[in-house]
Symmetry: C2
Subunit: 247 residues, 2 copies
């Protein structure tokens, strides 16, 4: 991992942009982090809209986690987002989704699979590589929590990587059918946010996915406010969820 910028923010949080191979990302560590007192790590997965656009929201969460709870956080630019190269199949899947939505046609399972599964396949190993690197640093020791982004990335990562001890998921994206099966094999504690009046989201699919998770502890927080309107008051319960399971 190469750090390409470093700044100490006014809440004493250290923000560093990095690259790991061709993955760009940002690492936030609390002022208290040191080799003698290593801290837990939260992986904050962005939606595929580009880190530049998402920076204020991601940094807001990371700085709150660092300043209030002493967690380190990392985010990455997703494959195909921001300045990262597009790939043909993903562009085609997005174009097909746009076409059916504009034509008022149903969004089929095939379209959802083509849209989501390749992104899951590419992103999960990247998160694992970031974990490999960060957990080898003296100032970060885990355990690791995951949050955000496309819910299927969280489902896959929580299912296959035992380093993930808790996951905060956002039920706001298309869910391939295979993820309902994978969800049954997820057993870590879950904290799921659902925007009840999210026009672009299939609410019943989100409730079915929540029901499918095998986790003994799972919590669903549903709110009003539309897709992007998660209330500010949900920040602290999410942080407390991680504090219960990562300390």
């Amino acid at each position: 991992m190469h750090f390409i910028s470093e700044q100490r923010l006014d809440d004493n949080v250290l923000e560093r942009e990095f690259t790991l191979g061709d993955i760009p990302g940002i690492l936030w560590t609390p002022g208290s982090a040191s080799a003698s007192a290593p801290v837990p790590l939260i992986l904050i997965c962005p939606p595929p809209l580009g880190l530049g656009r998402m920076y204020p929201r991601l940094a807001g969460r990371a700085r709150y986690y660092a300043a209030e709870y002493g967690f380190a956080s990392a985010t990455i630019e997703l494959p195909g987002s921001g300045e990262r190269p597009r790939w043909e199949a993903a562009e085609q899947a997005r174009a097909e989704l746009r076409r059916v939505v504009e034509a008022g046609e149903p969004v089929t399972d095939e379209i959802i699979d083509a849209l989501v599964l390749p992104l899951v396949e590419r992103t999960v190993p990247e998160w694992q590589a970031v974990m490999d690197d960060l957990l080898a640093r003296p100032e970060i020791d885990g355990p690791v929590g995951y949050e955000g982004g496309i819910i299927s990335i969280g489902v896959r990562l929580a299912r296959i990587d035992p380093r993930i001890k808790a996951a905060g998921l956002f039920a706001g994206s298309f869910v391939p059918r295979v993820m309902f099966e994978e969800a049954r094999q997820v057993t870590v504690p879950l904290h799921v946010l659902l925007q009840w009046d999210d026009e672009g989201n299939d609410r019943q699919a989100s409730l079915d996915l929540f029901d499918a998770f095998g986790s003994e502890e799972k919590t669903l927080h549903a709110n009003m406010g539309g897709h992007t309107g998660v209330p500010q008051f949900e920040l602290d319960p999410g942080a407390r969820f991680f504090a219960r399971h990562l300390k």
Copy 2:
């Protein structure tokens, strides 16, 4: 209102048992409450199991609200519970519910109406009488929050009494059809708890009722743990909900 006992608890909360007419109840006020600094009031409605049995849970919530957030809280013995006189129709409705459940027959709308609506009719005016009395005291000035109990009591009270400014509801009881209509007329902020794996509760009816509420701000917190297993970590988000709306 007559106070029949008074004790100062070790968190400096004052606990007083009272009677108002033939309604027994308990009032908790924070150590800080005085005529010069009046406090908000939470009505904590118990389930119809008797105050004696429910005391530890109710007092735990009330003392947390008082000690951490400076709220007064009151609870009452519901009509037909504890030492209060039973009435024939309610006993018949309960017996009929037991009969169909044991026989594996469906719980019809008629049974639910007979079970719930008379209790709503009797209890709501009692809560209003308690509010009339408590809000006239110098150490309590409102606003008033309502929480708990049978969800239909909360729906009716929030619909008809403008003194209720926020309601915390527990989606764990049978819901008469008419309550879905009444819910559309409820506009105060809501915080709804749902036990996802509550065997005795119709989950879909609870989700439908949540959807029906007319409130612009409504939050659903669903958890595992069965009917009586609301996690301890839900206490503080509920208190913060009231703190946002009653201060």
